[in-house]
């Protein structure tokens, strides 16, 4: 049923000024959460979380993956039910159990994958579902009028009649924001908005955010990027392990403090690997790799027996780098050689030559939902399980059973449909598919995203075992703990090149995080 929206209060002059503005409320408390708890099948994900966002304020929210950021947002926007605690808007407690309640309370959210309809124009998208006009006839003129009013008021530069399909990413985000404002949103939550934006587009987004702030709209800005948070936010809440660690004012935001708050004590994990054997002969060399504007000039060597971690922010081209090596993307320049011989452009030949690739997006690029666990595991190894292209079913079954046992995939039933597996088990299936082949070169892209801690440790074990057997492991990861504890050597990407390399002791999480934002640790405190 279409949400019944309270009609926007008509300003007296009845002119274009239709929606209410909040300049007058700047500084007053807009959103406050108190004592919010949340558990997911036994695991406490949020513990006594308190957030406070004011009108006319950009409030940043930072924290490592799995710190509970997205969970609290999903609770505020009614996607999840909170187990305990209160949410207050303008000081009064509010019940939010679905997205319509959230919208009615003036809360709107812009996720990374936007919820726009490509074939419709900007104006149509903004008013989709609540078109003005009578008797079902879309009041196009009124719609365009109100959109232009919104655009002028917030100083956006966008044509209401442009089809969304023809817009760039930042413009689409502007449309998403306009859509929120058109429903008199008081609070706009942005989740990693700049991850797929160019620097120019990010600049435009920052201007937009400043405009919103001047109009008194509250903004909750979730990001990993320190310099953005420093530049934009009035206050910053840092979360770790499901708890709010602290709230910093603008001038308290210093890289050192922020990173330590995010990471906690610099715990040196006992079983961090020491002393691994390098197999000089098993070498993969990448020289002057270019891919569009994303990878400008990337060169490095990776040796057998070593786990090479690739750090960097989302959008720094790490996935593209790995895909260029694997043959999934056609590189614009430079070359890749393995044991001296150039790596082929055909994925099939590379696999037979000993390459393996665990993709980042399990659902789309890794799993075959309609097939069984067994088939998902053996799908990459038909060459080893068949003679004259006839499958050896016995060998196939044994191969699958062994992988299920080795990598502890649950349920232990070869015929079970992969679609019904949990996230962790799905990842284990995709990983098991490659580990079972004992590849000479294993490329991993964010292998432990969305996997619980227990499974994560197992995955590290298997990867380490493979490295110890002399294989090259290249692991792209945004998980600082993973980089600093699992990888033996870390290359951090920034601006299309390798910005910095860390080995051994120098590889502290803070240093890596800073490098990812293009900061060398010894360059003093001030950020750009």
């Amino acid at each position: 049923m279409r949400p019944t929206l309270k009609k926007p209060e008509r300003t007296p002059d009845g002119g274009a000024e239709r929606t209410v503005t909040f300049e007058d409320r700047a500084g007053k408390s807009l959103l406050r959460t108190e004592g919010v708890y949340k558990q997911f099948n036994g695991v406490t994900v949020l513990r006594d979380v308190a957030l406070d966002v004011r009108y006319g304020e950009v409030h940043a929210l930072m924290g490592e993956n799995g710190a509970g950021k997205s969970t609290i947002i999903k609770i505020i926007t009614g996607v999840y039910e909170k187990d305990a605690g209160r949410i207050m808007i303008d000081g009064e407690p509010v019940e939010i159990n679905d997205s319509h309640d959230a919208r009615r309370a003036g809360i709107s959210v812009i996720y990374q994958e936007l919820s726009l309809v490509p074939a419709l124009t900007v104006a149509e998208n903004i008013f989709l579902g609540q078109e003005p006009g009578r008797y079902g006839v879309t009041g196009r003129s009124e719609m365009r009028e109100r959109v232009s009013a919104l655009i002028d008021r917030y100083g956006f530069r966008i044509d209401p009649d442009a089809v969304v399909d023809s817009l760039g990413m930042s413009q689409r985000q502007m449309v998403e924001i306009l859509k929120a404002l058109s429903t008199d949103a008081k609070l706009v939550i942005m989740d990693e908005p700049t991850s797929s934006l160019s620097t120019a587009e990010s600049e435009r987004l920052f201007e937009t955010i400043d405009l919103l702030r001047q109009k008194g709209v509250g903004i909750l800005y979730v990001s990993h990027r320190l310099e953005e948070v420093y530049r934009l936010s009035d206050r910053l809440t840092v979360m770790r392990g499901g708890e709010v660690v602290g709230v910093l004012d603008h001038d308290e935001i210093v890289p050192k403090t922020v990173t330590t708050m995010m990471i906690g004590r610099e715990i040196r994990d006992a079983n961090a690997r020491r002393g691994y054997k390098i197999y000089e002969d098993n070498v993969l060399e990448v020289s002057h790799l270019r891919y569009g504007k994303l990878l400008r000039d990337v060169s490095f060597k990776a040796y057998g027996g070593e786990i090479l971690g690739i750090g960097g922010l989302v959008g720094s081209g790490r996935t593209e780098l790995v895909k260029c090596i694997y043959g999934a993307l056609r590189r614009s320049g430079g070359d890749v050689t393995y044991r001296g011989a150039p790596v082929s452009k055909s994925i099939g030949r590379n696999i037979r030559a000993g390459f393996g690739f665990v993709p980042e997006d399990r659902r789309v690029e890794g799993l075959f939902p309609a097939l069984s666990i067994g088939r998902n595991i053996t799908v990459a190894s038909h060459d080893k399980l068949s003679r004259v292209s006839v499958m050896n079913k016995g060998a196939e079954q044994r191969w699958a059973e062994e992988a299920i046992k080795n990598y502890d995939i649950r349920p232990r039933d070869r015929g079970y449909r992969a679609a019904n597996l949990s996230g962790g088990n799905q990842q284990k299936v995709v990983l098991g598919r490659w580990l079972a082949r004992e590849p000479d070169v294993l490329l991993l892209d964010e292998p432990t995203v969305g996997v619980d801690v227990g499974v994560r440790a197992e995955l590290y074990e298997y990867v380490r075992f493979l490295a110890s057997r002399g294989s090259i492991i290249i692991m792209v990861s945004s998980d600082l703990f993973e980089l600093t504890h699992i990888a033996d050597r870390i290359l951090v990407m920034h601006g299309g090149v390798f910005f910095e390399e860390f080995t051994g002791a120098a590889a502290t999480q803070a240093a890596v995080l800073l490098a990812a934002s293009g900061q060398h640790t010894d360059e003093g405190v001030a950020l750009i």
């Binding site: 999934a328 055909s346 994925i347 099939g348 088939r375 799908v379 068949s386 292209s389």
Partner: protein, 336 residues
């Protein structure tokens, strides 16, 4: 395997449906259970059964091949025309068959290229080639029909053609033997060869298939070639059954093949379906027609009954899909 899961699974349902049919026929027309009836049902479904095995390769990829009927007609016309022109010589027959096979491969490759390189929807591509082939058939025969001469003795080529369709080995008609052979070979290919494994992967998730080394374009083209090839084979066998070849041979067979697929529980969005499904679908359709004839259902009733049964089968498949916890793949053919 728990009983409930068994009956939830595909084979469980099929046994229930068969049991239902046998029960009805046991009461209404016991002669249903004679050996000759079984052979006549198998004979009736052998032609479009072969086509169904071929089209299954394409359906597994979420595509469709509406041109199988016209392809059968064109191949039959090619064989008939070349054989006739060569005075019904053995060499003429051989060249005819080779030419027909070459033609079907060419059409299959055309379909594959249009679907992969041009990314055109297979529904429209094969609908167009259906019209084109329907028009090409009379151009090949220079008119309408070619009749194979009746008298058998003198001519070895004509004998061979006649035997293709009408000979019986151990009282089993040749078309049924061809059908069985196609089922075994196609079944083996899908169930136990690397190509079969890749097809199921490709149908389920084309992006992931590319990342595990599947050559998406080559395997897709191969699937369309198999479909046209088997359509050609069934066309040649059908023309030898009727000892004639022409434009309207196997007209509308693509409809029966689609029915067999749907009833056989094959997901037209791709990624799911087995040869046993296609065979059961064809068998079920054949049994229904056989039942209707034996129970002398008036012919103007038969089309409505057929439509109703297919609709019920569609509901059963959808329902069992959901109940067995299967993930419903995207409704539209996956080639978007």
């Amino acid at each position: 395997m728990s009983v409930r899961r068994f009956f939830g699974g595909a084979w469980g349902q099929r046994i229930v449906i068969l049991a239902l049919i046998f029960a009805v026929m046991a009461v209404a027309e016991p002669k249903f259970f004679t050996g000759s009836n079984a052979s006549s049902v198998l004979f009736a479904i052998s032609i479009y059964g072969m086509m169904a095995c071929g089209m299954l390769f394409v359906v597994l990829l979420g595509g469709l091949d509406l041109s199988v009927g016209s392809m059968a007609a064109v191949s039959a016309c090619i064989v008939a025309q070349i054989t006739m022109k060569s005075g019904y010589s053995g060499a003429g027959l051989l060249t005819g068959i080779v030419a027909a096979i070459a033609a079907s491969i060419a059409v299959g490759v055309l379909h594959g290229l249009c679907v992969t390189y041009m990314r055109m929807p297979s529904f429209i591509v094969t609908l167009s080639t259906k019209y084109i082939l329907y028009g090409v058939a009379p151009i090949i025969t220079g008119g309408s029909f070619i009749y194979y001469p009746q008298e058998m003795d003198s001519n070895s080529a004509v004998n061979f053609i006649y035997s293709l369709g009408n000979k019986r080995i151990a009282n089993v008609p040749m078309p049924v033997i061809f059908f069985a052979a196609v089922v075994v070979i196609a079944g083996f290919t899908l169930a136990s060869t690397t190509y079969g494994r890749r097809l199921y992967a490709l149908g389920g998730n084309p992006t992931a298939s590319a990342l595990v080394g599947v050559r998406v374009r080559r395997d897709t083209v191969a699937a369309y070639v198999v479909s046209s090839l088997l359509a050609a084979l069934s066309g040649i066998v059908l023309s030898s059954v009727n000892m004639q070849a022409g434009q309207t041979l196997a007209q509308g067979y693509e409809g029966s093949v689609l029915m067999a697929m749907i009833v056989g529980g094959i997901n037209l969005a791709g990624g799911e379906g087995t040869i046993s499904g296609a065979v059961f679908g064809a068998l079920f359709a054949g049994l229904i027609n056989n039942m209707m004839t034996l129970l002398s259902v008036p012919s103007d009733f038969q089309k409505a009954v057929q439509g109703a049964i297919i609709l019920v089968a569609v509901c059963i498949n959808a329902y069992s899909g959901r109940r067995a916890g299967r993930v419903k793949l995207p409704a539209a053919p996956a080639e978007k």
